[in-house]
Symmetry: C2
Subunit: 139 residues, 2 copies
């Protein structure tokens, strides 16, 4: 089987970058700067079922994305999580949180309705994330 | 400063084990088999701010705990997350989820009221977790 994004992830996100192990996508929700890493691995649902080297690579990619997204957004707190109760394809959420955001201090999942980005804001955010990811992974 | 558990974590949990990097505690909530890893590190709130070796060790410990807890509980899905919006002391949740559990398929945080374990069930669960952790980390 080839790697395909789960249809719900595909519908809810915009592609940002391909890292060595993961595809990085941005949630189409302007309320929260929210990236998702989806390892290019077919059929796995639990992080602990990855081979150890891939667990470490995924962690490196997720923590790098977290560091970059906090730097770009000046977020108060980063939330990182691998849940998969609804979409079983293994994926890791990296979400920038702010005191007073639409879900604070609760988790973001399932809270209210997503709000679309304005086109220019979306393009700027993705461009900035790509530039930082290129620095982090091509250096 | 010496390492102390945040008072809210201390109040809501029961100690289980000390791993090389983290203290493992069990949430006092019989609705969800739910462990929390708290690295023995003072003053950090973001996983991405740990030195790389500690990021990898924490990941090894969290994924090992996840594998063990899924095995012991036969959980349908494991949830792993580092949020810290309420308790800023860096900690990683590892939660065994079941279709039809008290929050399914939503995340567990902030859902309803916790339910106490019966003493015997709590003692059995902790004993089983400790036995598996000793096998995994002393081998």
């Amino acid at each position: 089987m080839s790697f395909d994004l789960d249809p719900r992830l595909e519908h809810d996100t915009t592609p940002v970058a391909e890292l060595p192990l993961s595809r990085v996508v941005l949630m189409n929700d302007a309320r929260f700067p929210w990236l998702i890493l989806v390892p290019h691995i077919v059929g796995l649902t639990e992080m602990h079922d990855l081979p150890p080297a891939e667990i470490m690579q995924l962690t490196k990619e997720a923590t790098t994305v977290s560091r970059i997204l906090q730097k770009l957004t000046d977020a108060h707190k980063m939330n990182i999580g691998a849940l998969g109760n609804v979409v079983s394809q293994l994926h890791v959420h990296v979400i920038a949180r702010f005191e007073g955001d639409a879900a604070w201090p609760a988790p973001v999942w399932g809270v209210g309705e997503s709000e679309p980005y304005e086109d220019a804001a979306l393009a700027d955010l993705i461009e900035n994330i790509r530039a930082e990811l290129e620095l982090a992974f091509d250096a």
